[in-house]
Amino acid sequence: MKTSFRTIALVFGREFRAYFATPLAAVFLLVFLALSAGLAFFAGGFFERGQADLGPFFAWHPWLFLILMPAIGMRLWADERRSGVIELLMTLPVRAHEVVIGKFLAGWAFTAVALVLTMSFWLVTLYLGSPDNGIVAASYIGSFLMAGAFLAISACVSAMTKNQVIAFILAAIVSFLLVMSGTNLVLAALRGWAPAFVVDLVQSLSFITNFDRLTRGVLEAPAVILFVSTIVLALWINVQVVDAKKAA
């Protein structure tokens, strides 16, 4: 597959700057910081535990991201369709996968900015005691990968509609299912009738279960593979959707 990295870089640059073109970026970053801090401190019992560890902070990430990543991803393609810019973009001498990758990386980089800002919490734990920095590093990597998977799904869904609100809702639903697939609620409902391998499969796809493994400090291959392959698969579908459904 021929690929122009220059095109990817140009799309990345445009899209990354577009996040900061409106005050929305600042609002988003503030909300993300406030929510992740608030949930960790008040709902996660960060203080009561009396330990210098970021577990309560990371534990909320699957739930935070299942809302926030669709918010970051929804405009990537839906807005292009609504405004008609997709017609201009896809008649430039570029390949669909270059644009798909450039846009995804821009959203992912924006997510990285949000995560880097939360490192202030880590500084607090450093001040309070001595956190296990290996665990912190593994958790951050896991969180970034999981965010990427949610984002790729959101970008893909965004390519299917010209309505950002619909893109947001659909992406949040798909993300919610992936988070919930590891909970007892879902597994119990399946156990009644589905064959065992289906139950195992659903459980192994769970974002929560896999993310939990990573936050325990081991960069386990299956968890990393799950998130990375979700990203690859979602972006591949994204390319097919853009190629097949150019006109609105």
Binding site: A21, G84, L88, L92, P93, K246
Partner: protein
């Protein structure tokens, strides 16, 4: 070689046959006025010529490159103004044109020259650093035209380029198109018939997805002449396409 070559283009939307077997050839130096009533299928045809929309049947090529088999090569030689002149509203005019230029492969040195030329030829100096969202309709259209011209392409497909321009700008735009026409093949859709007479070397009229006339403006008028008196282009347009509307 024809710079634009399309044969038997067909596009059906659910039940509606928007384009029904349109063929078109445009050679270097020609400016084709693409006319037809609202909904005749002009924009849909142009979307297929540019490779944006896949036809149900038929083929299209730009400068000898099939728009589907060899899309990148075809698109390199093409400048396209889509209907409504879409653009990234959050970008300034300067940033947007630089982005399109770079995406079209212009290196920084060439890009600078081309941007300077666009400022002058399309009269964009007054809005150069304004976000596109904040521009009036006419200026937006001009940004769309500049975007199509930025890489000095051989083939230009412009969907209603003068819609929303003031009389001075319309005049300037016609001068610009006439000035660049000799080296290019240009297809312009428009509802302004005086424009066709001013700049087009050929008129193609479509109605309900079919080509109903394809001739030079004067041949078209001669053919419709009664007692040696030529009707206006508007009268010809109406008599060819107006039967059901009347």
């Amino acid at each position: 070689m024809q710079l634009v070559q399309a044969s038997g283009l067909v596009k059906t939307f659910s039940r509606l046959r928007a384009v029904d077997g349109v063929s078109l050839e445009v050679s270097r130096g020609e400016v084709v006025g693409f006319l037809g009533p609202n909904g005749a299928g002009k924009s849909t045809t142009m979307k297929m010529l540019t490779g944006f929309l896949e036809p149900d049947a038929g083929t299209a090529s730009i400068a000898g490159h099939d728009v589907f088999a060899d899309p990148i090569a075809a698109r390199r030689r093409l400048g396209y103004l889509p209907e409504g002149a879409p653009a990234y509203g959050d970008m300034t005019v300067a940033d947007f044109l630089a982005f399109v230029g770079r995406m079209r492969g212009l290196a920084n040195s060439a890009l600078g020259e081309r941007l300077a030329e666009m400022v002058e030829r399309v009269n964009l100096a007054a809005v150069w650093n304004r976000p596109i969202d904040a521009l009036s309709k006419g200026f937006k259209r001009r940004v769309g035209i500049a975007q199509a011209l930025i890489h000095d392409p051989e083939v230009l497909i412009l969907d209603e380029p003068t819609d929303g321009l003031d009389p001075n700008q319309k005049h300037d735009m016609r001068e610009l198109i006439s000035a660049i026409a000799p080296g290019k093949a240009i297809v312009i859709s428009t509802h302004i018939l005086e424009e066709v007479e001013a700049i087009c070397s050929r008129v193609v009229i479509i109605d309900e997805g079919r080509v109903v006339a394809d001739a030079t403006p004067s041949a078209l008028l001669d053919a419709a002449a009664v007692d040696g008196r030529r009707p206006t282009l508007e009268a010809v347009f109406r008599s060819i396409t107006g039967s059901k509307a009347a």
